[in-house]
């Protein structure tokens, strides 16, 4: 009887913990690993090896999803527009209504979209390949690097160089 009770209690607690955990990570904040070198000076600066030990972990805040208010230079995580199971992390370069210059002249970013690019432009597949992405794909804003411990820092909002934006 006592053993059954303990098992039942543990089961109950773990379900409650799971529910609360899912809610918090969905609505407020979460932690996410970063793979690949497309954001190289900011995340994974020395990613010659692709082992998961050297991955950076970042802290995501999701309060920005209430109103979908983002600004230039925010680092965001969004679901990959070419493959819904994957996720990408990139920096917002231009918001709706801005003009971005690229290989085929200047493009106007349409309503409800944003233009994202990686910091390491040589190794990044971003809006230069698939065009502007809808804001609805964005899943959170990266605020801090929390792992590895020697590089714990705030991810600052870096305004891209002005010549990329054509006004």
């Amino acid at each position: 009887m006592g053993l059954q009770n303990t098992i039942f209690n543990a089961f109950n607690k773990s379900i409650v913990f799971g529910l609360v955990g899912i809610t918090v990570t969905d609505r407020y904040a979460g932690v996410c690993p970063i793979r690949g070198s497309s954001m190289s000076p900011t995340f994974n600066p020395s990613s010659s090896s692709s082992s998961s030990f050297t991955d950076d972990y970042v802290f995501l805040e999701k309060f920005c999803l209430d109103k979908y208010k983002f600004s230039h230079g925010d680092v965001v995580i969004f679901s990959d527009p070419t493959n819904y199971k994957g996720r990408c992390v990139k920096r917002i370069v231009a918001m709706e209504g801005d003009y971005v210059s690229n290989v085929n002249g200047a493009t106007k970013v349409p309503e409800g979209h944003c233009w994202v690019e990686g910091d390491n432009s040589g190794f990044s597949s971003d809006s230069r390949t698939y065009g502007p992405i809808p804001l609805g794909l964005i899943e959170g804003r990266v605020t801090h690097v929390i792992w590895p411990p020697e590089r714990i820092k705030k991810v600052d909002r870096r305004i891209p160089p002005q010549e990329r934006l054509a006004f």
């Binding site: 409650v16 899912i22 809610t23 969905d26 070419t82 819904y84 809808p134």
Partner: protein, 163 residues
């Protein structure tokens, strides 16, 4: 004095317990509403023969799009690509890699165009092609914008049934 303190701590404990129950309930609600199913009010002219203009309550489920099981013909809830705060209800016409031909402006001319849906995208259209803002205007949308699949109508009660 100690009697008063004990009373206050009992009240505090009681209120914390109550608040925890409410918080757990809200978490349960959030999880069912985002991962299993929820009722949704849909209105507008774009799905007219299927869904009414004045507003229907439909039951939508949030499992099959995560497993990649939605296909052409399904009515889905989508986060509008033009305004991320808005949800729209449309029918999937074609999945990635399929060719779709559509009338560019059905009320004025018979001119049609054919496009191939790119990788990771879907082509959505309203059932009422004369009054619908859909992929014919903003192009194919990424699969990741799909939020759920509408499975049956709940209200009005005489229209109860699957769509």
């Amino acid at each position: 004095m100690s009697f008063l303190l004990g009373k206050w701590s009992a009240i505090a404990k009681e209120s914390i317990n109550r608040a925890a129950i409410v918080a757990k309930f809200l978490c349960l609600l959030h999880v069912t509403n985002t991962y299993i199913f929820s009722p949704t009010l849909v209105y507008g002219p774009s799905m007219l023969p299927t869904l009414n203009l004045t507003g229907d309550v439909v039951l939508s489920e949030y499992i099959s799009h995560r497993l990649g099981k939605v296909g052409p013909g399904d009515v889905v809830l989508i986060q509008s690509p033009e305004n991320p705060r808005k949800m729209i209800t449309k029918r999937i016409v074609a999945m990635e890699g399929e060719a779709v031909s559509f009338l560019v402006n059905p009320s004025r001319s018979d001119r049609s165009r054919t496009v191939v849906v790119p990788k990771g995208h879907v082509w959505i259209q309203g059932d009422n092609i004369y009054a619908s803002n859909d992929s014919r205007n903003f192009g194919p949308i990424p699969y990741g914008l799909i939020q759920g699949r509408v499975c049956c109508r709940v209200w009005p009660i005489d229209g109860f049934g699957s769509l």
